[in-house]
Amino acid sequence: MTPMATNSRGRPVRPVAVVSFAQAKNVRREQEHNEVEMLMPIVSEAFGAVGLNKNDMGFICSGSSDYLVGAPFSFVMALDAVGVWPPRRESHVEMDGAWALYEAWTVLQEGELDTAFVYSFGRSSPGQLDRILALQLDPYYVAPMWPDPVALAALQAQALLDSGRATERDIAEVSARSRRDALGNPKAQVAKDQSVDELLSEEYLVAPLRRHAVPPISDGAAAIVLAAGDRARELVEHPAWITGIDHRIETPALGARDLTLSQSTTDAARSAGLDATSVEVAELHAPFAPQELILKDALSLGSSTRINPSGGALAANPVMVAGLARIGEAASRILDGSASVALAHATSGPCLQQNLVCALAADPDAAVGKKVA
């Protein structure tokens, strides 16, 4: 009998599961529907999959960014897609929805509520994404130089190549595999079958990154219903149990950390009690292809783990949503019965600065002596 995971006070972690996941079709540019109209159908779908509605949700939490939308308080309008009436317990993080899910998970740990609803939305097409993301950088020393995200990722890619732990061919293989797998994902935006040699013959976009190694610009939205204990068992046949979830942040100073490693991912995974050898499916939020190689190492994933069957962020990268979508995609493999142990990862900030790891399993007791704290 394997022991349940325990929390910082030595008490058992409450089993909480993803019971449904819905996402909008990821597109280059959603021009007809505004954010509320994008969210409404997937909110409906996420609830419908488990026969629940907004009033069944004990807690609602969302993730989004004002600067991405180009409006202050932009999360407020999105509430109309849910309909918080009668008044509900609701909160918001100005981060990828994966962190909103983390907040909802901690609330459910208290034991008083049994369900939570998490959603996020992000349209990268309206604004100038390269300028917007530059505003994430140190406002005194770095942002005024307006470094663009591709250039920053290229720094990381070059460092990785220089370390000898990866080649340009390895990078192209990640891209080729991701976009080919995306052919099987109706929600993916970029899906095609190209050979590695074909990709390697492309010109550099920002050396050493070629266009294939860079994420698309996407508009999207995602929603997840979480349920605890028996409630989850009542709602679906194979709840995707969260056996551990944690996150860590690193320094923003790119010169002050080894860009070829992802220490925060390793630490978060350890804290989440991840057993890499048992992971069948891993959804890694790697907007740039070389980052998948870095994350795979950081998580000690072996060759038997299938990475990003959804196509990952190279197939669709709706900023503020892509991390939550990784959790949804990984959970879906358990919900549909095709996997029994999965992993999802989300990232925030340039060059994998902040990372969240979510371990999922079909068996809630799959945690072996783990501590969460």
């Binding site: 006070r9 180009g70 918001h92 100005e94 981060m95 901690t106 994430q136 690193e250």
Partner: protein, 384 residues
Amino acid sequence: MERCAVVGVGQTKCQAKREDVSIAGLVREAAQRALEDASMDWSDIDAVVIGKAPDMFEGVMMPELYLAPALGAVGKPMIRVHTAGSVGGSTALVASHLVTSGVHRKVLTVAFEKQSDSNAMWALSVPQPFSAPLLAGAGGYFAPIIRAYIRRSGAPDDIGIKVAVKDRQHALKNPYAHLHIEDISYEMVRNSVMLWDPLRYLETCPSSDGAAAMVLASEDVADAYGSPAWVQGMAMRSEPTMFAGRDQVNPQAGRDCAADVYAQAGITDPRTEFDCAEIYVPFSWYEPMWLENLGFAPEGQGWKLTDEGATSLDGGDIPWNCSGGVLSSNPIGASGMLRFLEVALQVSGKAGEHQVDGVRRALGQAYGGGSQFFAMWVLGTAKP
């Protein structure tokens, strides 16, 4: 649920422009003070929860990324909350939940705004195409609601002035408050320019730079402290900004939130069972309105409590906003946390000159958006 207590608090002096510190310097000042108050070091903290209002106020997107080193968060979990004006309060709640859920034992929570860095008026309402042009500015949204309250309640039209005088007098006893108007008086407020009838200049909040921080700890940690402020109840509620039949004067979300937090803390008569309160009053008339919404007075009668001086530190039986409140300091992202922090100071007996004698239980409330987001907590000297 685990128990949780505030074991340290820290805040910066609020002022129109803190030109002597960077954004990192501002938050670190508050965080450092909170750690010192808690006799802790940066390395003692398990996780950091930071909150602030729209990023347009400083021109930095997702500032937790830039601030991680300044807040000792490198290598730790860090979350950034944004729930509009209530954010300072909801941030404290998110941090507390990390403790009550058993996930962490020592959490540092910080809220700030350095709104002088950008243009606050612009940041509050970046013009949006297709939307109705903004006709009235920030106070202009609330002034018509206040007029509706005055009509409904039949309150005399100088109640707002009395609130402003009281809160500004209280501020003189709080060295951290932004506005210290030494010779504040009823006449001075009444003669100040009318901005959005019925709100006069001196009945509205300033625009401030400032930061607030607290250290929240689990029971085993808090037991080692002399005067921890125990969290006896926490609640949040949201409702839509606009919908048919919405009561904007006495929002349901506020009433539901209060009912929830009172039930947790065993409060049935807030007026007599609380010793003081820190309530988000950015425009004078919100005091009588919140007195009713929070159940301190029956509907339509909140203004009487203000009128008879019940909410004054000087002789009142239920002092509100002894710190000077939002009317005296308003770094938007931090204002909610300042309410929660001031409650902790009162319960721990550390409020100095604006301390209410013998506080055993106090209420902190923050609201945001179009009076639609509410965050509240009850702190007390006794464990829940």
